[in-house]
């Protein structure tokens, strides 16, 4: 390493975790998860077009414990990416960059996405069980 007296950029472990970091990382992570989830949408449509036995097979798979777990994860990923995506679109206009606003909107994305996923699954469960 060059012998310089200029300050070096601290590496990742140095940083204290802040909600703005989490929302940024989660936006990418949920985006990747949703990209995989697109395959489920296509699988469902192919099953529907393929006939009743294919569709029943699809319903059995997504109704299995693993299927439900994946659906809960994907639905949260969708709501989070949706909420935080709207936040990013607002920020793209130049709004909300003051640190307190930035922190507040970060928490808003996380909390609203959790509320939405709980509401949706509460609705699913109260209308007669999943799948």
């Amino acid at each position: 390493m060059a012998d310089t007296r200029r300050p070096l950029s601290p590496h990742m472990q140095i940083y204290k975790w802040q909600v703005q970091m989490v929302t940024s990382i989660l936006h990418r992570a949920t985006g990747i998860a949703l990209a995989v989830g697109t395959l489920l949408v296509v699988w469902g449509l192919l099953a529907l077009a393929g006939g009743e036995s294919h569709f029943d097979q699809f319903k059995t798979c997504i109704g299995s414990p693993l299927g439900i777990a994946l659906l809960v994860g994907w639905s949260w990923a969708l709501f989070y990416h949706l909420c935080n995506g709207i936040r990013h679109l607002v920020q793209d206009t130049g709004a909300g960059y003051a640190i307190p606003q930035f922190v507040r909107s970060s928490w808003l994305s996380v909390i609203v996405s959790l509320v939405l996923v709980i509401l949706v699954w509460a609705w699913v469960l109260t209308t007669g069980g999943a799948a």
Partner: protein, 133 residues
Amino acid sequence: MSANAKDLRHPLKRARGLGSAQSGVGHWWTQRITAAALILLGVWFVITVLSLLHADYATAKAAVAKPWNALLLILFIVTMFWHAVLGLQVVIEDYVHTRWKEVVLLVAIKFLAVLCALAGVLAVLRIALGVGP
């Protein structure tokens, strides 16, 4: 011209608006446009899926076959894969530092996305047009 007096770039460079990466703001802008479309289409998709939660095969198929639903589903599929490719492209460009692996992955996700998008669109069309089982 006074505003451009200090600009050392050729006017043609400014007119083309492609910047140093030679690709301009096309990727960025398309990502935002597809995102805005997906707010509407995504909310519609979730509501539609929830309304069909306990539907049997015939009901689900009839719902997809409705013209508006078929149209919005096709729009949703195309926009979703488009947005997914743009997002995955950035992730790959950021984290894959071996050039040949990067290029292979970038091409692979595009092939896969086009394949899956067309498969999804074809499935909707088969249902909407009443072709097949």
